[in-house]
């Protein structure tokens, strides 16, 4: 984010009036992809590849015209930018996002044969592209309007709620919804498992990381060895590390009954958690160590000169000043863990990755989506949440 803060404010531009080429480009991309790519696809069942339909076939001429007009309105407003116009564009984008599920409903109503219960509506490339570009527009608008990072979260949560409602009530023939309804208990279970694995791994590595970083500050030799080891571990690809842990743990589980009683076996949570913690330790320890070391010597000397004890200096000066960087470490660790936990599904740890790999195995793409989309959303939520927390805890407010 610091990259963006370093930019000259738009007021310093050479000409005071100057079209917003970014939004112009983005609206052009949306217009082109809406007309060129397929909007939806219809398949008779979950395995067969569907037939694709373009915008006119899917939502008819009135729908196509409405969508095109919305995109052209964005372009027109972006040609003569002003704060007011940016707000208007924000409105149009929200409207478009809200209209998107209704487009699917219309398409589903027209194209899906109601007499075939297995028939399903797939979301096409045009839909995904437009959705992605609309999010880019939101990012651009947030920067132009100088909104805080809460706004997009708020807007997207509201729109997400509307989509969820539409999906639950009227979009029963959407492939993604069908996949979900077929295994909703499994889905919630997987989400819970995923979050549990991430939380345990991050929680343990926060504690271990803090301890290790404090030990490193005391024993310089440990620092070199520990960083070398953690760097080494981080370099090993996740799949390989999971694999390397499988064999010894399987052996232990089979040969040491006490460990087997504790649930240790080759497949399952034990190797997953060990690998997750091993990966999480490096970013955690690195950030904690840097955070604690970075506190300015002058400040600490001043604290000493004022007569603070060692403990007081640590807990009242060094630690609070280090906290934001430390939390940055937690954020990086947690985001990384969300992704790695998905890989852990391969060795039977459960979680949302299960759907991805099962879906890939069965060539059922909607099931892959059912795993991948929540993982993506989870990663973004963790990132936003912990980022905001770090901001809030920065001494003297936001930077």
């Amino acid at each position: 984010m610091s990259l963006i803060d370093a930019l000259p404010s738009p007021a310093l531009r050479r000409r005071s009036w100057h079209p917003n080429s970014v939004l112009l480009c983005l609206s052009g991309v949306m217009l082109a992809s809406a007309w060129l790519f397929s909007l939806v696809s219809v398949a008779p069942n979950r395995i067969v590849t569907g037939t694709s339909f373009g915008i006119v076939d899917a939502i008819g001429w009135p729908g196509a015209a409405l969508i095109s007009m919305l995109f052209m309105a964005i372009a027109a407003l972006a040609t003569v930018p002003s704060q007011g116009h940016y707000r208007a564009i924000l409105g149009i984008i929200m409207l478009t996002l809200l209209l998107m599920p209704f487009g699917l409903m219309v398409a589903g109503h027209w194209l899906v044969d109601a007499s075939m219960p297995q028939a399903r509506l797939g979301i096409g490339a045009a839909y995904w592209t437009v959705l992605f570009v609309l999010l880019l527009c939101l990012v651009e608008l947030r920067l132009r309007l100088g909104l805080s990072r809460w706004w997009p979260t708020l807007i997207l949560s509201a729109i997400g709620a509307v989509w969820w409602g539409c999906a639950a009530l009227w979009l029963g023939n959407l492939a993604l919804v069908q996949e979900f309804q077929a295994r909703d208990t499994q889905f919630y279970q997987a989400v819970k498992q995923h979050i549990a694995l991430v939380s345990i791994a991050v929680g343990v590595s926060v504690v271990l990381g803090l301890l290790l970083a404090m030990l490193m500050r005391r024993y310089q030799r440990l620092q070199k060895v520990a960083f070398a080891l953690l760097n080494f571990l981080q370099t090993i690809p996740s799949l390989a590390l999971f694999g390397l842990l499988l064999a010894p743990l399987a052996w232990l589980g089979a040969n040491v009954p006490m460990l087997a009683a504790l649930g240790i076996s080759g497949i399952g949570n034990a190797p997953a958690l060990i690998a997750l913690i091993a990966y999480s330790l490096l970013p955690m320890v690195r950030n904690t160590y840097i955070a604690l070391e970075e506190v300015s010597v002058e400040t600490l000397q001043a604290a000493k000169a004022m007569g603070m004890r060692t403990g007081q200096r640590f807990w009242q000066v060094r630690f609070p000043l280090a906290l934001p960087v430390l939390l940055e470490g937690v954020r990086i660790t947690a985001v990384q863990a969300v992704g790695l936990t998905a890989v852990a599904a391969l060795i039977g740890a459960g979680g949302l990755g299960t759907f991805i790999f099962q879906g890939l195995g069965q060539a059922a793409m909607d099931m892959v989506l059912l795993g991948a989309l929540p993982i993506l959303i989870l990663a973004l939520m963790v990132d936003a949440g912990l980022g905001a927390l770090a901001d809030a805890l920065r001494p003297g407010g936001q930077e």
Binding site: A11, L12, R13
Partner: protein, 321 residues
Amino acid sequence: MIELSHVSKRFGDETAVDDITLRVAKGKFCALVGTSGCGKSTTLRMINRLIEHSSGDIILDGQSIEQYDPVKLRRRIGYVIQSTGLFPHWNVARNIGLVPRLLKWPATEITARVEELMGVLGLPVGEFAHKYPHQLSGGQAQRVGVARALAADPDILLMDEPFGALDPITREKLQDELAKLQSRLHKTVVFVTHDMDEALRLADHLVVMRDGRIVQQGSPLALLQQPADPFVDSLLGGLERGLKQAALTRVKDHMTSLGPTLPAQSRIPTDFSLRQALSMMLRDHCDRLTVVDQNDMPIGELSLRRIVKEAQLDKVSQRDA
């Protein structure tokens, strides 16, 4: 020669430089002085088109700068900035040879020129040529900065607070060397500083700026004798103005031939400033000094009464003019 007429620069609604008219004759040293944010750096940067001016004309040797290709224009104007702007990944020799290389001089000529300049600026080639900027002290880095600006022998030199970040002793030393260099090379120099003493010491022509406008311009002596308003007066040191003026005057301009009275005990060389003479009188509790030549032979005398009286005369003659 550099001529700015009615030059303004606006950033959006903000006017950074407001209707400036200024003329720097060939071979003269012009200092732009003012508090930070007064538009002096902007004015400087408009001359080599790092910033394009919004209105007015900037003429260089009879031709508007808009008619020059900016890149070619910059290659014939030397430029020195406070933080030196030396390229950290190039050694000293390569940094100095930058503009000649851009101008595609033959390699042997570049080497010769670099070595010549390092000699002029007191940087022994053997010791410094292969050092990197981070291995230099502030003063050494600034010498390299000046050498780099002089490399292609430009007629014009722009200097943006070049000595601002140096400690007082190094700064004074470099000021002296710059003054000596200028007396030899006679470049047309525009020099931006917020340090009035530095400006008084180096400049032929002093320009005081405030809020993007020129408040007063003229020779240092003229400004000291007749500041246009309280702002210029305070910049020039208020009560200290008299001493600053004395610092610009040489002993030899105020001495009288040896009188019939006994020569005074304290002796002062002719090329010392009047300020040093006054200080010596205070130190030695006397109101007369014997002026001596290079061989320490008495050639005249200087009295407090005369200094005071002539300072007044200067003021009157200034007003009449």
